[in-house]
């Protein structure tokens, strides 16, 4: 690894590779039904893709499809299609995007999506997940498996909770065997988990590089691309190689003291999902102030790897269970607030930015309290802004710009005078 930065790294290697990996993945999805490849729909937070992979299932992540539709600017029309069917304005934009896609014969800008053979509702802190997959099970007539993931109410996970999830995983294994005719192989699962673990180790190493000044990458606006393989395509040699290459790119950027903005003026921690339908415009509002996210919680929705969470081939089902419980939104509010505070300290951030999205209650609950305690108790400047992760109608650029400009103006002024909150 010592020589990796000596060879030239193509610009945006990580993003290019990610795009190619996703193109290949969506290509495989397009022919899955016709090729007879079983398809399992999963949710991202704490997903159990290693397990379904043992049975040859291709994973489909409706949340990822929704954010891709957001970026490709078609989420708005999908959402309206779902509303025409009767879904209310208050229902999550990701759900409505998915229903809208289904109503359009699953035709997306990244290819036609396959129907599910199995819906694994790895319910994790979000009640909407259950209703979402119940609706899909109804529409598709597919098999539905509810994997009940206990919410982390205490500071630690209890052994009872792990045993509870492991018991359900065993039940799921039996269901997968019956559906695919493939006999479960623990050796195969251990092999897959080994790849997951390796990718996770590398990803954490990358995330920690944001402690550098300047940070070599934006831990929100760029990390959301880099995190895709570790959230979706774990357990493959390709995902391990991907993170080797991204680490190489980030080390090269660190060596060259190159970051995502020409001059890093503000280091911020960002809480909440991005405004996917206006991603570039949203990022620009921060870039123009030289503001760089050095840590974010959204990049931990899949799993809190940087907090020591790992898949472990020596404890296959137990580590899958622990991982499933350690998605960011499955943590209680006190743990979330403590994580945010530690991010501000460890990454030497100037401020916290909370992007509250209308769709996602798992995220937005408690955010007003975070704001209040950060400003009034911890004295950490905190900005709270609102829009949505899927519905383009909730993004009011002038109002967002006003808040963001005023916030960085005040940080600039306070830096000059040394005033504290």
């Amino acid at each position: 690894m010592a020589t990796t930065t000596q060879t030239t790294v193509p610009p945006d290697l990580g993003k290019t590779m990610q795009r190619d990996m996703l193109a290949k993945y969506y290509g495989a999805l397009e022919t899955a039904n016709a090729d007879g490849v079983p398809v399992a729909y999963l949710f991202i937070p704490g997903n159990i893709v290693e397990l379904t992979q043992c049975f040859g299932f291709l994973p489909v992540y409706p949340e990822i499809n929704a954010l891709q539709c957001g970026i490709k600017k078609v989420a708005g029309e999908n959402i309206i299609r779902a509303e025409d069917l009767g879904y209310s304005a208050d229902v999550c934009g990701y759900v409505k995007n998915d229903i809208g896609l289904m109503l359009k014969d699953r035709q997306s800008p990244f290819g036609r999506l396959p129907t599910p053979d199995l819906l694994v509702c790895n319910y994790s802190g979000c009640n909407t997940f259950i209703k979402w997959f119940e609706a899909l099970a109804h529409f598709y007539g597919s098999e539905f498996f509810l994997l009940d993931i206990p919410y982390i109410r205490e500071s630690e996970i209890s052994p009872g909770d792990v045993a509870y999830v492991v018991a359900q995983l065993k039940e799921l294994i039996a269901r997968c065997e019956a559906r695919t005719g493939v006999t479960f192989s623990e050796a195969r699962l251990r092999e897959i988990l080994g790849y997951s673990r390796e990718a996770e180790d590398l990803w954490v190493e990358i995330l920690h590089l944001a402690r550098e000044r300047p940070s070599p990458f934006d831990s929100y606006f760029e990390a959301v691309f880099y995190m895709a393989p570790v959230n979706m395509l774990r357990g493959t040699p390709e995902s391990v190689e991907y993170y080797r290459q991204v680490l190489r790119e980030m080390r090269a950027r660190t060596d060259e003291r190159r970051g995502p903005v020409p001059e890093e003026k503000f280091r911020v921690v960002i809480e909440g999902p991005p405004a996917w339908p206006h991603f570039r415009a949203f990022w620009e509002l921060f870039k123009r102030w030289g503001a760089v996210a050095v840590a974010s919680t959204y990049s931990k929705v899949g799993g809190l790897y940087d907090q020591g969470v790992r898949h472990d081939p020596s404890r296959p089902l137990e580590s899958i269970a622990e991982y499933a419980m350690n998605g960011y939104t499955n943590w209680n509010l006190a743990k979330r607030a403590d994580l945010l505070r530690r991010y501000v300290e460890e990454y030497e951030a100037d401020a916290l930015v909370i992007h509250s999205v209308k769709s996602c209650r798992s995220f937005s609950v408690g955010q007003a309290d975070f704001r209040e305690s950060f400003v009034n108790e911890l004295g950490i400047p905190t900005l709270m802004i609102e829009s949505d992760l899927a519905d383009p109608r909730y993004f009011q650029e002038a109002q967002l710009r006003n808040r963001i400009d005023a916030f960085f103006e005040s940080l600039t002024q306070r830096r000059l005078t040394g005033a504290t909150a």
Partner: protein, 271 residues
Amino acid sequence: MIVAGVDVGSTTSKAVVLDDRRQIAGTSLLPTGANVVRAAERAFREALAASKRDESEAAYVIGTGYGRYKVAFGDDQVTEIGCHARGAQFLFPDTRTIVDIGGQDTKAIRISDRGEVLDFSMNDKCAAGTGRFLDACANVIGMTLDEIGPASMNAQKPIRITNVCTVFVESEIIAHLARGEKVEDILRGVHLAIGSRTAGLVRRVGTNPAVTFTGGVSRNVGMVQALEERLGVSVHVSPLSQWMGALGAALIALERVEGGAVHRIAAGGAA
């Protein structure tokens, strides 16, 4: 030498011309209308005319308000949050909290003893509790904006207005009128509803006295009274409160000149 602040708001555009002794030499106020660029230019020229000073004397111009990026002749832009803070602290040096109610925005701003913005909070993406809310209520009752505040102060039994929606409040008022409720009681209810909503916003940043009330709605005496009642403290209001953003912008412009900033572009795109 003079400087200017041009505040292009959603409803009105305001400008203030300051001389180098921090004296206000001229002001202007006009509806923003559809052509934001022209409104900014007109506001600046009218304030210049009122000050009887020539544009060539203008050393620095700062644009503020929603249309700040349309102040094409300006040297820089500063948000109205920063400008209201600067203006309020200049007029009332003991100000620690600013409540600004404008045409479509309500803001609560906490500032330091030196006028630095420490925290702020704004209404969500809806005009409830803003000037537009009052506008809608005045329209449905058939009074002008200037009349509703004093009228509300004659209330005997304020009606509780439950609607927070600027559109639906109209039908609520019509229902109260149909029931024969008195106009002044309804109006008092409207003002108290905005006062409550605003007080909630202020509590997010802390109600630290002294509180200064700025923005167009602060001209409404009924609103001043309702806000004081809901906040439980008296508030400063200046006759210049509608120009607070423009005044703050002009003060920041003057500080920039004193700090060595140089004027770059002449007004009206002449440069």
